[in-house]
């Protein structure tokens, strides 16, 4: 465990922050510009995982375990969310025969 912490601390904290921000931004862009629901879900996972990575880095730098515990919460709830999300996508697919968001524009102002 100590070895991992020193290894994580081998890279400056700023690099983690910039790296995770970039991954998060890629996730956000993916959600905003992609039209395929599966890809949108992958992008959301990317956002959540960048958060996990950053939490682990902060946690190692501060020598505080609560950040890593939080990662487990995020993972568990992300898994629950994906289970429900995939069920919803299957339900939509049965009715529209597609996993695109384009046909889903019945509700508009």
């Amino acid at each position: 465990m100590e070895g991992i912490v020193t290894q994580i601390q081998g890279i400056p904290l700023d690099h983690y922050i910039i790296f995770c921000s970039i991954i998060f931004a890629i996730g956000v862009t993916g959600v905003l510009i992609r039209r395929n629901v599966i890809i949108i879900m992958m992008s959301i996972e990317l956002m959540l995982n960048s958060v996990n990575l950053l939490l682990a880095a902060f946690s190692a730098y501060r020598g505080d375990a609560s950040g890593q515990v939080f990662v487990f919460f995020v993972m568990a709830l992300a898994a629950a969310e994906v289970a429900v999300g995939l069920a919803i996508i299957i339900m939509v697919y049965r009715n529209t025969k597609s996993v695109d968001v384009e046909p889903l524009s019945k509700l508009r102002w």
Binding site: I17, G27, V31, V37, F70, V92, V101
Partner: protein, 461 residues
């Protein structure tokens, strides 16, 4: 904590009741569970409000009052559910279970004292709702609403989490007391913390449906079954506001020069988009969705000008808004059952067929519009009063203009009910069950009582 455990177990019991086909027992058992939960909260009232479970949750008066409000509103909504769920699905036990699980999430958000609980509470609340919104499996509108709600909910959770992470990176704790000590203790707050505030603000504004993060609200409210819409626009919204308020009033008050301008902009945009778009709606349900956006704007006033009184202002406003929404959606269910549409024209001539329903709905609309002698007026008055003491008067002028715009579209329904002739084919009266009469009457009476004698609720907080 007893209440949260009771409701979680109750949800599982209800699933078994559904399995053994005890459909008649579902509603009574649920209501008994809700009453027991309220009892647990009342028992906590005189206890010292210290964070428990290693600082995870705190049952102070803010948490207790809002939790009881959520429980009461859920009870009212469930009383309306008796025939409604049966008409849209076979498996009604799942409805009750999912609504209860969602309520558990809302109660957790009400009492959080650690970001882990805020996050878990919001997720429990939302994941159950994703399913509830899409529970009419063959209805495309319901499917679409469910998918949109899911994608937007997960997206906003990402923002919320990134915000939490940045705050953790700056302060090294998820605990609200620890964060407050950090903000008060350091001379210069780390830039990471400011980034965290902005991202959390985005995430929470998504959840409460404040502009410019509101675009999912009308679609989701429109596509979801009506009772689920009423649950989302009352209980869920109220819980998110408590989460908002707790974060800002305990931690972020010293940094108000940073976030006040941001939040003010959000309030102004929210009020204008909500009200002006509501003006252009032809469907009552969509109008209520946009009106819920504008009410989120009014409630944000209390957070912009956060003081010791913010809790009671939000409590009064949320009670008024919750009761009026229950009445409005209950009436919409009855009207839609008769005419099959949720357009304003469906309400034509309602006063002739059923004067009682027309009067009750009028009270609700007046309360939402903020006319004196209703609870909505007291709520708006307290919000504006608070805003005036803290912020400048020009903002108040904006708010007053918006309130005036609101009166127009709420009274549209009232005018249709009293002054338009009904369509011929719906000549006969409505068939309204006792449950509806009791719930809507109670809600209307409470609205008027609160409007005349607001001290009754203010004394709680």
């Amino acid at each position: 904590m007893g209440a949260i455990i009771t409701l979680s177990i109750l949800g599982i019991i209800l699933l078994y009741l559904g399995l053994y086909n005890a459909k008649k027992a579902l509603l009574p058992v649920t209501l008994v569970g809700l009453v027991v939960a309220i009892g647990f909260y009342l028992a906590l009232w005189n206890e010292a409000a210290n964070p428990i479970f290693s600082g995870m949750v705190v049952f102070d008066h803010l948490a207790i009052t809002f939790s009881i409000l959520c429980l009461v509103i859920t009870g009212l909504i469930l009383l309306l559910s008796k025939e409604y769920f049966r008409s849209i699905s076979e498996n009604i036990a799942e409805y009750y279970t999912l609504i209860l699980f969602s309520l558990v999430g809302a109660l957790l958000v009400n009492c959080y004292h650690n970001f882990a609980m805020l996050f878990i509470g919001i997720e429990i609340m939302s994941v159950a709702l994703y399913i509830l919104v899409g529970i009419r499996k063959t209805d495309i509108a319901s499917n679409e609403a469910s998918l949109k709600y899911f994608l937007m909910g997960a997206f906003s959770t990402g923002f919320l989490l990134f915000g939490i992470t940045l705050m953790y990176g700056a302060s090294g704790t998820f605990d609200l007391a620890g964060l407050r000590n950090y903000v008060n203790g350091v001379t210069t707050v780390s830039p990471l913390f400011y980034g965290g505030i902005l991202l959390m603000l985005c995430g929470l504004c998504f959840k409460i449906g404040a502009a410019p993060f509101h675009f999912w609200t009308p679609d989701v409210y429109d596509g979801a079954p009506i009772l689920i819409t009423s649950f989302m626009s009352t209980v869920v919204k109220i819980a998110c506001f408590v989460g908002f308020l707790r974060l800002f009033s305990t931690v972020l008050v010293p940094l108000d020069t940073f976030w006040t301008p941001v939040l003010l902009t959000i309030v102004i945009i929210t009020l204008f988009t909500g009200n002006i778009t509501a003006l252009m709606q032809s469907s009552f349900k969509r109008m209520m969705a946009y009106s819920s956006i504008s009410h989120a704007g009014y409630m944000l006033f209390a957070i912009v000008a956060v003081t010791i009184n913010s809790g009671s202002s939000i409590l009064v406003y949320a009670t008024a808004y919750g009761l009026a929404s229950v009445i409005a959606f209950g009436a919409l269910i009855l009207v839609k059952r008769r005419t099959g549409s949720d357009h304003f024209e469906s309400f034509n001539g309602l006063a002739k067929h059923d004067p009682w329903l027309a009067i009750v709905l009028t009270v609700a609309m007046l309360s939402l519009a903020g006319i004196p002698l209703t609870a909505g007026f007291i709520g708006k008055f307290m919000m504006f009063n608070q805003a005036m003491s803290a912020i400048n008067v020009t903002l108040l002028v904006f708010a007053a203009i918006n309130a005036a715009v609101g009166v127009y579209y709420y009274l549209h329904v009232v005018v249709n009910m009293y002054f338009k002739d009904p369509a011929e084919e719906f000549g006969k009266g409505l068939d309204i069950s006792v449950n509806y009469r009791v719930v809507l009457t109670i809600a209307a009476l409470l609205t008027i009582v609160l409007g005349i004698y607001p001290d009754f609720i203010l004394s709680f907080l």
